[in-house]
Amino acid sequence: MSVTGLIRMGDNALVLGQRLSEWCGHAPALEEDIALANIALDLIGQTQLWLGLAAERGAGASADALAFHRDAWDFRNLLLVEQPNRDFAVAMMRQFLFDAWHFEALMALTSHEDGEVSAIAQKSLKEVTYHRERSTDTVIALGDGTEESRTRMQGALGRLWPYVGEMFITDADDLTDMAALRPSFDAHVHNTLASATLTAPASDFAHQGGKTGARHSEHLGHMLAVMQSLPRSYPDAAW
């Protein structure tokens, strides 16, 4: 089994966890702020498991070394998760689309032949089941909400839809056949969008290059600069 598959799972959780933690103290309501911080912490916890296993299997010295001492071109996360927050609509739509994929991917990995992979998937799936429930309800509430919230959610969907395709482009490094997850993903997403009175763009155009590392968007480097600055300035820093 390729360690790249483990790094992809870990990097998705790490990059989205960092993006979500950028909301801390800025979310539109106290309750949402706490919820986003909780979800961010769930994802950082999952990162430690995936990158920890990758490190054990030769990808690097430790999960921390992989998180803080790789450069943007070494990251293997989906382009979707590195997209900036912009506003609450974009952040919630990004979360919903990722959760819908993440749920299906983890569900498939719970029966992975490698016992450590299936154990991480089983633990993570409990958390992600809640993430998906919450972001689904939020998309419906804001889509089928006020004129302003609906316009913003439709705009966010249009902006992020070109990043959906990459989640289902699969290769031998993936831990499971990601293309096979598409029908279940589509069913959940289209049901939700219908309840939210939102319409997915007709185009299937997909930006690519995140999970292969070939072409990350400009945003990843800026995010890593903030995330990595402390451990790079003080390499042996400890709490």
Partner: protein, 94 residues
């Protein structure tokens, strides 16, 4: 007119056998949202196994102005306490 979401009171049951206890309040758009928010705000450290939420506006509370009439009459009715009965030794701990 306030733009705040409605207020909900949150009750958490800590473990089996204990009753739900009031733990605080939060804002949410509806009851289902209030359950999710309560999960995130009040059960982060394994505080509970069950959540109730109640719209704060639906709670009828006694008025502080009525406290003389409501509570003072119990002051001199010590016989309402079950402390005047001899409990036989073989009844064990009550």
């Amino acid at each position: 007119m306030s733009n705040e979401w409605p207020l909900y009171e949150v009750f958490i049951r800590g473990q089996h056998g204990l009753s739900h206890r009031h733990v605080g309040s939060l804002h949410a758009t509806d009851a289902a949202h209030a359950i999710q928010n309560a999960r995130d705000v009040y059960t982060r450290r394994k505080e509970g196994v069950s959540i109730w939420v109640v719209p704060a506006a639906e709670i009828m509370a006694s008025s502080p102005d009525d406290k003389d009439a409501l509570y003072d009459p119990a002051d001199d009715k010590v016989y309402r306490h079950p402390s005047f009965f001899d409990i036989p030794d073989d009844a064990g701990a009550m």
